[in-house]
């Protein structure tokens, strides 16, 4: 009895240590966004300091910061929402009408995400140039497309888990296919929808390479702003700017995960994809 409790305490101690270790860089950034530039680089690091909002105000007053945030929010939420709609319809079809090569098709769709972005960014760039898609709509479609494979995999797993007897009970009682899809199946895969939404939202929110290469003023997102604003006019790294922008940047994923961690867990265990992105 005594030894079990001691062991549990040790386990928790280790877990807390590891968690804190992982959290330290985030903590440093969060603190730095409220420090003066001198305090940020002070040695030894200052834990007690006079907090200031000047970094954040400075960051927000720079001409493009607010558009970057708006772009990030708009592109990620819109593209992932579109992707979820398309994926749900596709997942229902693939789950219920058992096409001949469903598994191969599923593999093909997922294979688009097996290649690193660096490998296809140049052909995509050329294609987007040729078709004149290097605008907000083009980038939106690209992100939608890239959010579909994981969403489809997660949702197909969830819909497969909903017995076709639910559909059939609806049909026998006179329900239409659309009714069955949206009123019978959809409410039962809500955790899958949320899990797919969060996974892909974080992917698009963090995406940098394609955004950097393809983007224009209408599409540049926060990671781009971080990269471009990293070095100040004098050639030094502008830690105050980086820290305050990063603090704003981690806000959305943090809130999302905090609110929906239950679904995230369900998504990771019930869906076919386990903890990707």
């Amino acid at each position: 009895m005594q030894s079990t409790r001691a062991r549990t305490t040790v386990y928790y101690l280790i877990l807390w240590l590891v968690a804190i270790l992982f959290f330290l860089p985030v903590f440093w950034i969060l603190m730095a966004s409220f420090k003066t530039p001198n305090d940020i680089l002070a040695v030894p690091p200052k834990f007690i300091f006079q907090p200031t909002l000047s970094n954040i105000l400075d960051m927000l007053s720079r001409p493009n910061t607010v558009p970057y945030f708006i772009n990030s929010l708009y592109l990620s939420i819109t593209s992932v929402s579109l992707a979820i709609v398309v994926s749900f319809l596709a997942a229902y079809a693939l789950s219920r009408y058992k096409f001949r090569a469903t598994n191969f098709l599923m593999f093909l769709i997922l294979s688009t995400r097996m290649v690193p972005a660096a490998a296809f960014v140049v052909p995509i760039f050329q294609m987007f140039n040729a078709f004149q898609w290097r605008n907000q709509f083009g980038v939106l479609m690209l992100y939608t497309m890239f959010s579909i494979p994981f969403s489809l995999w997660i949702l197909k797993g969830f819909i497969d888990g909903v017995s076709t007897r639910y559909d059939e009970t609806g049909f026998v009682n006179g329900a239409s296919r659309l009714h069955v899809m949206f009123r019978v199946v959809l409410p039962q895969v809500r955790p899958g929808l949320i899990a797919a939404f969060i996974f892909n939202l974080i992917f698009v929110w963090n995406e940098f390479l394609l955004n950097f290469i393809l983007g224009g003023p209408g599409t540049q997102m926060i990671p781009y702003a971080l990269a471009v604003g990293l070095v100040s006019a004098g050639g030094n790294i502008d830690w105050a700017f980086v820290a305050s922008l990063s603090t704003g940047y981690v806000l959305l994923p943090t809130i999302m995960i905090f609110l929906f961690q239950k679904y995230l867990l369900v998504g990771m265990t019930f869906g076919t994809v386990r903890g990707e992105v």
Binding site: S163, R165, E168, T169, F171, V172, N173, G174, Q188
Partner: protein
Amino acid sequence: MIAVELQNLAKRYGRKQVLKNVSLTVESGDFMVVFGLPASGKSVLVRLLTGLETPDQGRVILRGADVSKLSAGERNIGYVPQSFALYPHFTVRQNISYPLDLARVPKAEIEPEVQRVAGLLGIQELLDRKPDQLSGGQKQRVAIARGLIKRTDIYVLDDPLVGLDFKLRERLIDDLKRTQELLKVTFIYTTSDAVESLMLAGKIAVLDAGEIVECGAPETLYANPQRVQTMHHVAFPQANLTPGMLRQQSGELLVETPLSCMKFDGERPEKPFGDIQIGVRPEHIRIGAPPADGWLTHQAKVLLREDLGGEEIVYLDVNGVVLTTVLRSDDQTQQHVEIDQIVRISIPPQQMVVFQEGRRIGVCKISE
């Protein structure tokens, strides 16, 4: 009036012919039980009847009209699916009222209907719960209520009691029988359970390997089965089957089994020789001396006893053949036995039914 008529239905999945030429007629107001072992094609039959799938061949006729081309929703059938299929995101009330909601019945009319069927099945106090707060038996009642609320005259229940415990099944069997008699509607009910079939049915159709081999009232099927599957499976405990040979000797037909050689009693079959099966119901095998002349008697060793309280199932080894018999505990005329005891058994030969190629051809008769 004929409520349901299935004409020459056939269905194949890939290489597997699941249903071959199934025809079945159900009178209006009948309780028709389609009995079949697992994988005999019961569920496919239900799917074709309800319109969830189209047959490769044959027609489905409901209330005198050919509905083969109509979708499931247009056939107006009340449906209780296998394994409940209650919508987890609905309350019990919403689940039960679902068929009426879909039919756009005015809200004011729905609530009294829900109360009525809930009362019928004794689940009024569960209406505000969610399905995951119910026990298996309660879920089943809700599923049945959802099937019954539909305003129609034909209801299809696809093995609704499968997986429920014995006591619960018995209660639901009573409820179902009572409900059907009360509503005077047509029930088509599939099951793989012999007791359920015999207790519920107005008529039983025996489905075996995609064919309806026999159809009739339960008493008739039990007393006078024409097919070996019927005799063997539509009974509890199952009927004994032993292999045998039909042989001709000096103009007489003989039935040879590991137990004995008897005369054949019945019309001379087309093929008066070859492999046969002999069926005997457990209750016709008596432990002890024969009460009358003309019985077959044999030595047997007691292998196992299963005490069911009111009765006891005894497994006997008779010349290498295992036979079961039933002893009623209160029957003073029967001898009680212990395991490994050697006993004498007697069987009336007219209860030994001879099947050739699965069909009844006659019974046995003792040779003097």
